[in-house]
């Protein structure tokens, strides 16, 4: 005669196992690890810093001169941009400096098909793709030519910088 006594044990065991598995799954699923970078707080801080530095470079020190960024874009002086931006972005009130790297582009509009193109201004380190970079930009009004039409005219160019921390 088949004894039904063991069925109770089995069912109880199965039910207990189901309960334990379900709770274990929920607990493990909930405790996923958030790194501080996932909260994007450091990204926000870096964006504010990068934008402030560009705004500062685009402000003339007195009313009659042009801003340093305008002069740099007009003469395409990448080294000057790299030095100045590096100083501003890494400057702190204490003695030690920060370590923010950057890479900059300039975009302008070509005269014929009105599609723009970019030229590299300068970078402190090549952006390889493993870095988590933020993007900031600044509009500059300059009087400059472009490779297709070297005669200088009033135009707007967009300076774009990628910033990241090592």
């Amino acid at each position: 005669m088949v004894d039904t006594r063991g069925q109770l044990y089995t069912i109880e065991g199965v039910a207990a196992a189901l309960i334990m598995l379900a709770s274990a799954y929920l607990v493990v699923n909930a405790t996923s690890i958030y790194t501080p970078g996932d909260t994007h707080i450091s990204d926000m801080q870096l964006e504010v810093l990068g934008n402030d530095a560009l705004v500062m470079m685009n402000t003339a020190t007195n009313a009659t001169s042009e801003s340093p960024l305008q002069a740099i874009v007009e003469t395409n002086n990448g080294n000057a941009f790299g030095q100045m931006y590096n100083n501003i972005v890494n400057n702190r009130t204490g003695q030690d400096q920060d370590h923010v790297q950057f890479m900059a582009n300039v975009s302008y509009v070509r005269p014929d098909n009105t599609v723009n193109s970019t030229t590299l201004l300068n970078m402190s380190r090549p952006l390889s793709g493993g870095e988590h970079a933020v993007h900031v930009s600044e509009w500059v009004i300059v009087k400059a030519g472009d490779p297709e039409n070297p005669f200088p005219r009033n135009r707007t160019e967009l300076v774009e910088v990628y910033l990241w921390r090592d």
């Binding site: 990204d43 926000m44 009033n154």
Partner: protein
């Protein structure tokens, strides 16, 4: 069912209660790590600097002698590099000049009528 010994059920139930309360507290502590995420994300998502810059460049372009080129550049560059649509126009009433500016980057729209001082 008569005869089943259910003395242990109280212990089991109390055990369950304690473990569930511990589990719940662990969840609350775990979720506290991500506080601040949406605050930082909303700050980054709002294009404060973009709007300020574009507004400044548009107003400046209307006081330049060669402003039409600059304005064409603004339209093309903002659409191509910043994924935003910019419309602007000007009109004069009396001694004041008004500039109407519209900016839309898909998430945030900004409208302004600027009056010369």
């Amino acid at each position: 069912m008569a005869g089943l010994n259910d003395d242990a059920q109280w212990i089991v139930l109390m055990g369950f209660l304690v473990s569930f309360s511990l589990f719940f507290l662990a969840m609350v502590l775990n979720q506290s790590v991500v506080v601040g995420q949406t605050t930082a994300e909303s700050v980054s998502e709002f294009p404060k600097y973009d709007i300020r810059e574009i507004r400044g460049v548009i107003i400046e372009s209307y006081s330049m002698p060669d402003g039409a080129n600059v304005q064409k550049d603004i339209n093309v560059l903002s659409l191509a590099r910043q994924n935003s649509v910019v419309n602007f126009s000007t009109y004069s009433v009396g001694e004041y000049t008004y500039i109407q500016i519209h900016y839309n980057n898909g998430v945030t729209a900004y409208n302004e009528t600027w009056r010369s001082p």
